[in-house]
């Protein structure tokens, strides 16, 4: 088995897996970022950046030639194991990029919730009614 054939086949699998991940995440990410970002333009930009990051990382990891033997007379088993290593790196890259995007989303949601709490507090101050809670300070949990 030629290493080039194995690399091409595993690269095609990587392309399909990356495209599937991006298509699977896209509608949910769009709805979530529409809510968190506040405006459609910002949400669209961050959806595009997030999905492109996942796609590029997936393709980058899925085209790794790290595991293939360099000797031209390598056995079929070595080539197969090289392909398995390539697919393993694809999964690491996809999972890492999805986790990085998820971490960014969690930060954005926390910031969004702090702003929502602060806005409710200052609206209550303007209306001269008892505020629902103290204004949230960064890093400290709000008291019920």
């Amino acid at each position: 088995m030629q290493p080039i054939l194995a690399l091409t086949a595993a690269g095609l699998v990587a392309l399909l897996a990356t495209a599937g991940t991006v298509l699977l995440l896209r509608p949910h990410l769009q709805r979530l970022l529409d809510e968190v970002c506040g405006t459609h333009a910002r949400a669209g930009f961050w959806v595009a950046v997030s999905l492109l990051t996942i796609g590029i990382c997936g393709l980058l990891a899925g085209t790794a030639t790290y595991g293939y033997p360099s000797a031209p007379d390598a056995s079929a088993q070595d080539v197969f194991l090289g392909g398995v290593t390539q697919l393993r790196l694809l999964l690491v890259g996809l999972l890492g990029s999805v986790l990085a995007v998820a971490w960014g989303l969690v930060q954005a949601i926390r910031s969004f919730e702090r702003r929502a709490d602060a806005r409710a507090y200052y609206q209550a101050m303007q209306a001269q009614t008892p505020p629902p809670s103290a204004p949230p300070a960064s890093g400290t949990p709000t008291q019920a």
Binding site: I4, L7, T8, G11, E35, V36, C37, G38, T39, A41, R42, G44, F45, W46, V47, A48, V49, L51, L52, T53, I56, C57, L59, L60, T63, A64, T65, I109, F112, E113, R115, A116, D117, R119, A120, Q123, A124, A127, T129, P130, P131, P132
Partner: protein, 132 residues
Amino acid sequence: MSTFAVAGAGTALVAAALAAVLLALRRTLAPTFVELCGERHRGAFWARMCQVALVAGTLLVVLVGAALSGSLDPHTPALAGVVSLLRWGLVGLLLSLGAVAAAAGTFTARLGRHAPPAYGGGSIPPQPPPQA
């Protein structure tokens, strides 16, 4: 396969990846910067600036990476050379995209401190204060 053919095939793949990224950002980049800058012409300028940075950054990384890794070496198998060029292009795209996203994120946070957008909903919507 000659060195020129490897370089041509790799450049074509990098150009395709670059075009896909620019196409994906085409409809969202300009409105975001118009919103951040407040003026249409300023937003258009920075959006165009980001596109130029994406293209230039990617090509720079491809050229430097190809020289460092020997992708165009005559002894490198042709497909391995093309894949190597594509991988350097993806690295350049990722770095350039990160730089653009960092700039947009910084200015979004800065704008949010001065003029937060009108939030229509959320996981914790503002609650009306309890009546005394």
